[in-house]
Amino acid sequence: MEAVADTMADVRVALRRDARHRTATALILVLPLALFLLLTFLVPIGALLWRAVDNPEIARAVPRTVAALARWDAASPPPDQAYAAFVADLQALREQTDAGMLARRLNTEVGGARSLVMNAWRAQPLPAAVDAAAVRAQLIALDPRWEEPWIWQAIAKNGARLTPDYLLASVDLKRAADGSIVTMEADRSAFRRILARTFGIAAIVTAIALVLAYPLAWWLSTMAPRRANVLLIVVLVPFWTSILVRVAAWIVLLQSGGLVNQALRGIGLIDQPLALLFNRTGVVIAMVHILLPFMVLPLYSVMKSIPRDYVRAAVSLGSHPLAAFLRVYVPQTYAGVAAGSLLVFILAIGYYVTPALLGGPEDQMLSYSVAQYANVHLDWGMACALGSVLLAATLVLYAIYRRLARMEPALA
């Protein structure tokens, strides 16, 4: 008995050693990819999420003022100590760029803050004052607006290192002076509308792509593999063309004197050229064209794996061929429909170049706003917050897909 136990212990040790060896090999093999993903995927996403809430400018530039305003109720006149602290902070800012950063940041909060702050900085150093109240009087003498509470409210609100303001703004919400969350004024709110438009365009593009791709994928799946491969290459050609080339081609085709309009007028369907460019129609046509392969490929691969016997069996059991197709074949393609739709929808909500070149001002999607904030306003906080909204939307969609797949195994 003891001998058997010893042997088994040896076997277990050997098995463990074997398992360790295999794990180590696997780790070494995936390490380069894991590092690559970490550096190119996880780190940038982390940075994006961080910058969406990061708010360093004011906390860094005027720390004493922020501390002095910590207990302020934001309604009564600001305490004298705040004025003194602010002047001390300004004197501590040696470089003009530091002051400029503070001024620009406050200006995004309240208009007119830039000149107010820069004038105060240039006036430094002020003559030495006996106490805080005297400093207050000096500052108000410099510009009477220092007596008003709004600039102080802006400093107090952004004193914290992290702020929810960018994320709130990206869904048209803001913090009121008292800290409660309220809806943005109508004239400043745009993102809900843009978000709804983004999702709307993506939904339309997904639906059209599905309607176009389903019969095509079915036709391909019924073909001999050789012919199917040739035709798949044709389907994939848009994949291999530069997006700018494709957009330029659509401009040529869709303009009022373009091929499409000429052809329609030639066969007498229309008298006036249709407006196909720089509006929603052009955007949707070009996006469907570009995204179609992403719908065709998952559908094709799923359809290819469905034996013809299923529909034949349904027909032999008395089903009309069309009913057999709808009741037996179509449900088995749900996995492909779900995968293709998810893929196309997620890609579509991130579209930027196509709507920017083929759409009008009312056809721009969320990515356009991201680019505006990043490239024009240099407001990285806002750009990252909008990017985070897109990321969240994608994750929510994926979660829904996973939930559906659990309920309906045919989707998985």
Partner: protein, 359 residues
């Protein structure tokens, strides 16, 4: 012809070509009798499956006519033919439960929900799967899936059940068990079964009649016993059951019998099947269990050398070399005397009434 004499199905001069150059099925004249278990047997590419698919309506004959109950059905689409069909891969709908699968042909026929439930349960009981209606097909074993497919093909009282190698994917033991069950089901229900297989053992075990196909042509339609004992030609003789085949030339013909001089110069007498004249090159065949091992020579005997002895439990199988070129297979019951040693010289007697001679 009265109704009773009309066969359930008649293939009349049916041709089928897929490419316009070669015929997958040619000159097919075949009757399926009411209530019989008919098996279409043949190697792959012999036209048996094409024949079944034409009967089911999934393939259209290139020529000829298929009659059902005396009426042509070539133009009837498959969903109006009312034949139950069982496929080799079961073809159970993976997104439906077992119960919903079996109910499918009933819902298509707009059977009321209550009756539908009863009939589904009866059909599942019939194949001994009662209580599994709520399972999904992927939760069943291969044999259970096969039974569900069978229940689904039978639940709507079809005029006929067509089966395309339904047991092909099962292991040997399960296959033999299902053969017994299929045969039993056929006996109880009295429905006409048309069954396609390439497995001759399966065909012999289950069928009332077997139709042997080769190269698109029907070779012989007969009961299992007649098929085995009286093969109509060389192909059937070699395809159905084991066989020893020796080449030779006809020496003399005497009514049904002929004397053949073998290439090894021995002379054998046997039943002549088919037209031949003296001098015609023929094949002499005999079943292994009909060969008798003798110590000395005699009538219808050839000298042979034992090359191999295989013990198979219920019988011994001897491979004997005749004249160093051809091999004869001999099947001997265990316990019928001492087994010959390998290399021993012996004589094989081929009783004339069991020898078949094919031109």
């Amino acid at each position: 012809m009265t109704l009773a004499e009309t066969p359930l199905v008649r293939f009349a001069g049916v041709h089928k070509s897929y490419d316009g150059a070669t015929l997958a099925v040619r000159d097919l004249d075949l009757d399926v009798q009411r209530g019989e278990f008919l098996t279409l047997l043949g190697p792959s590419g012999s036209g048996k499956t094409t024949t079944l698919m034409m009967l089911a309506g999934f393939e259209t004959p290139s020529g000829g006519e298929i009659l059902f109950d005396g009426r042509p059905i070539t133009g009837t689409p498959p969903h109006r033919r009312n034949f139950g069909m069982v496929f080799q891969n079961y073809a159970l709908f993976p997104h439906l439960t077992v119960g919903e699968n079996v109910a499918y042909p009933l819902t298509v026929r707009r059977v009321s929900a209550a009756e539908c439930t009863t009939r589904v349960n009866n059909a599942l009981e019939m194949v001994r799967l009662g209580g599994l209606a709520s399972r999904r097909p992927d939760q069943l074993s291969g044999g259970q899936r096969q039974r569900v497919a069978l229940a689904r093909a039978l639940v709507f009282d079809p005029a006929m059940v067509l089966m395309d190698e339904p047991l092909g994917a099962l292991d040997k033991q399960l296959r033999e068990h299902m053969q017994v069950e299929l045969k039993d089901l056929h006996r109880r229900l009295g429905v006409t079964f048309v069954y396609v297989t390439h497995d001759q053992g399966e065909a012999l075990a289950m069928s009332d009649r077997v139709a042997v196909f080769n190269d698109g042509a029907l070779q012989q339609v007969d009961t299992a016993e007649r098929l085995y004992e009286e093969p109509a030609n060389r192909f059937v003789a070699s395809f159905v059951g084991d066989n020893t085949a020796l080449a030779g030339h006809v020496a003399a013909i005497d009514a049904d019998f002929a004397d053949v001089t073998l290439d090894c110069h021995a002379t054998l007498r046997g039943r002549l099947i088919g037209p031949a004249a003296p001098g015609t090159a023929v094949q002499v065949t005999i079943r292994p269990e009909r060969v008798i091992v003798r110590d000395g020579g005699g009538a219808n005997t050839v000298p042979a050398t034992v090359q191999d002895v295989v013990y198979l439990g219920d019988h011994l199988r001897l491979r004997c070399g005749i004249d160093g070129r051809t091999t004869a297979i001999v099947k001997r019951p265990v316990g019928s005397g001492a087994a010959p040693a390998i290399g021993a010289r012996t004589h094989l007697e081929f009783p004339a009434e069991h020898v078949r001679i094919y031109p």
